[in-house]
């Protein structure tokens, strides 16, 4: 969502649109949403058992907001899913950023840990789920581990890529201006220069983590948005399935928005360089 906004901003920079055109462009997103809902409405008239109307879904959301299901209301389930992602993300950053930096900075580390990492990396995070369940069962820990594994990869990859791609000129400048030791260069040149790329990894890790937590919850859980969807399927409660989906979309968009805001705070200079 935020990405789309960005593109619109940039397009506006290039072309000078007239006021009428601008107003039309501002209304268009809402028009398209209204049309989608209308089509949904009409389609649900044919078979509301497998495609409940928007009203039914809204009613289901309303009910779940006040009546707990499996011990939690709707926000409770969303909160649990988010908490799992945040815990996993915390450990993924704690381990992944230093690990990526070491792989990028130190040849020996790159040849050893980096090689092993390159071997494991192509395995999609979802493929880890069965093995993790075999090893750790179906409690809280295996879910955290699954999301952690998924979030770790983009963090490590971006951290070491950032350091590998660092223009050597910055190191020359650092040394020319009295940053003489490796530690000083790392703190004052390498890290700040890499921050935007590292943070892009964090952003990816957040969105991948949000996907994997839902997959993990759909396999085995008693709480979380993934569980809601699964419960909806098992009890043929289609409005519940769609409730879960709507919330997953909303929370995912909010997460993207939040990471974008944090990035702007953290790297205010970055807006002028990359327009991703």
């Amino acid at each position: 969502m935020a990405k789309l906004e960005n593109q619109v901003e940039h397009a506006g920079d290039v072309r000078q649109d007239s006021t009428v055109k601008k107003a039309v462009n501002a209304i268009l997103p809402f028009v398209s949403i209204i049309i989608l809902v209308l089509i949904w409405f009409i389609a649900s008239g044919y078979n509301s058992r497998i495609l409940p109307s928007p009203v039914a879904v809204i009613q289901r959301i309303g009910k779940l907001l006040v009546t707990p299901l499996s011990g939690s209301t709707l926000f409770g389930h969303a909160g649990i899913s988010l908490l799992r992602v945040f815990i996993s993300l915390f450990f993924a950053l704690l381990l992944g950023i230093p690990m990526g930096i070491l792989i990028g900075w130190n040849r020996t580390f790159s040849a050893t840990v980096g090689t092993i990492f390159e071997l494991i990396r192509p395995i999609p995070s979802l493929a880890w789920i069965p093995l993790i369940i075999v090893w750790f069962g179906i409690g809280e820990l295996p879910k955290i581990i699954m999301v952690f594994m998924a979030a770790l990869m983009p963090v490590v990859v971006n951290s070491y890529t950032a350091i590998k791609l660092l223009p050597p000129l910055y190191l020359d400048v650092g040394r020319m201006f009295n940053a003489s030791t490796d530690g000083e260069l790392l703190r004052n040149v390498v890290l700040p220069a890499s921050l935007p790329t590292i943070f892009a990894g964090v952003r990816n890790a957040t969105s991948v983590g949000w996907m994997v937590v839902l997959a993990a919850e759909m396999l085995a859980a008693k709480s979380g948005l993934g569980f809601l969807i699964n419960r909806g399927m098992e009890s043929f409660d289609v409005p519940l399935i769609m409730t879960g989906m709507v919330l997953i979309g909303v929370v995912g968009a909010l997460l993207a928005l939040a990471t974008n805001l944090i990035e702007r705070r953290l790297c205010p200079w970055n807006r002028g360089i990359v327009s991703e």
Binding site: L169, Y170, D172, V173, R175, M176, F177, N178, A179, S180, E184, N188, V189, P192, A193, L195, C267, P268, W269, N270, R271, G272, I273
Partner: protein, 255 residues
């Protein structure tokens, strides 16, 4: 010359050879020697890609020579000497730092107190005409303004010897012309020893107290021209044009 010709930097028989992937030796700098006098504005004039940047990297200590040595005040230096400052051809401003933070980077790394380094940075930002832009980021500045920041940064680091590697090479003609006038006036106000590299004859004659003309690759000293005209120099005066044709007749390539 008024400085009494005290030798500040002595470059002695520097050479550097690189090896291509095919194992072929490329001799980039071949036994270069020259002296730089205290507080002079020395210009190194040579064609593009003739090893000037490598030579400068060896003078500043960023790269090790294969043979030969650089001495400052008679003392042989290895590595980056604290007396040295550099204005980079490709600017090398830190995009994550504000203009103020860029200029005070050198003193900060040396552990100078915040108040002191801010004052110093403000002084040199004023000298290059960038007061009011302290809190901007480099991406918000034009090419000419960025290179001014590079110059202020080198001065603020208390460098007694300033190496400038084609500092105006990436500027448009008009900005370049203005910056040439400006660097002359800055150099008059704050006396330092300057080694200024360019591939532009007019620029060399406009700013230099002395011009060292290089051959094409591998770089060697071809001729040294003292320029005694008072500054600022008139580009269409007879004297200027005479020196200009004398130098251009002596160059290997169209510079």
């Amino acid at each position: 010359m008024e400085q009494g010709n005290r030798v500040r930097v002595s470059i002695n028989n520097l050479s550097k050879t690189f090896y291509s992937n095919a194992g072929e030796a490329i001799n980039v700098v071949n036994g270069i020697s020259f002296d730089v006098y205290n507080n002079e504005f020395l210009v190194i004039l040579g064609p593009g890609r003739c090893g000037k940047t490598i030579l400068l990297n060896m003078i500043t200590g960023l790269q090790k020579p294969d043979s030969g040595e650089v001495s400052i005040d008679g003392r042989v230096v290895t590595g980056v000497a604290p007396e040295m400052g550099m204005v980079f051809q490709k600017l090398g401003l830190m995009p994550w730092l504000t203009i103020m933070e860029n200029v005070e980077f050198g003193p900060k790394m040396r552990g100078v107190s915040k108040k002191e380094r801010r004052e110093k940075a403000a002084h040199f930002l004023d000298l290059v005409g960038l007061t009011g832009f302290e809190n901007h980021y480099p991406y918000q500045l034009s090419g000419g303004m960025k290179q001014r920041v590079g110059i202020a940064r080198a001065y603020a680091n208390d460098a007694q010897i300033l190496v400038m590697d084609e500092p105006f090479g990436q500027l448009d003609a008009q900005t370049r012309y203005n910056m040439q006038m400006e660097i002359v006036s800055i150099a008059e106000k704050e006396r330092r020893t300057i080694i200024f590299v360019t591939n532009n004859i007019e620029e060399a004659i406009k700013v230099g107290d002395r011009i060292i003309l290089f051959t094409k690759c591998p770089a060697q000293v071809k001729e040294i021209y003292p320029i005694l005209m008072p500054k600022p120099r008139d580009e269409i005066s007879r004297e200027f044009l005479n020196i200009r044709s004398e130098i251009s007749d002596n160059t290997d390539l169209a510079l």
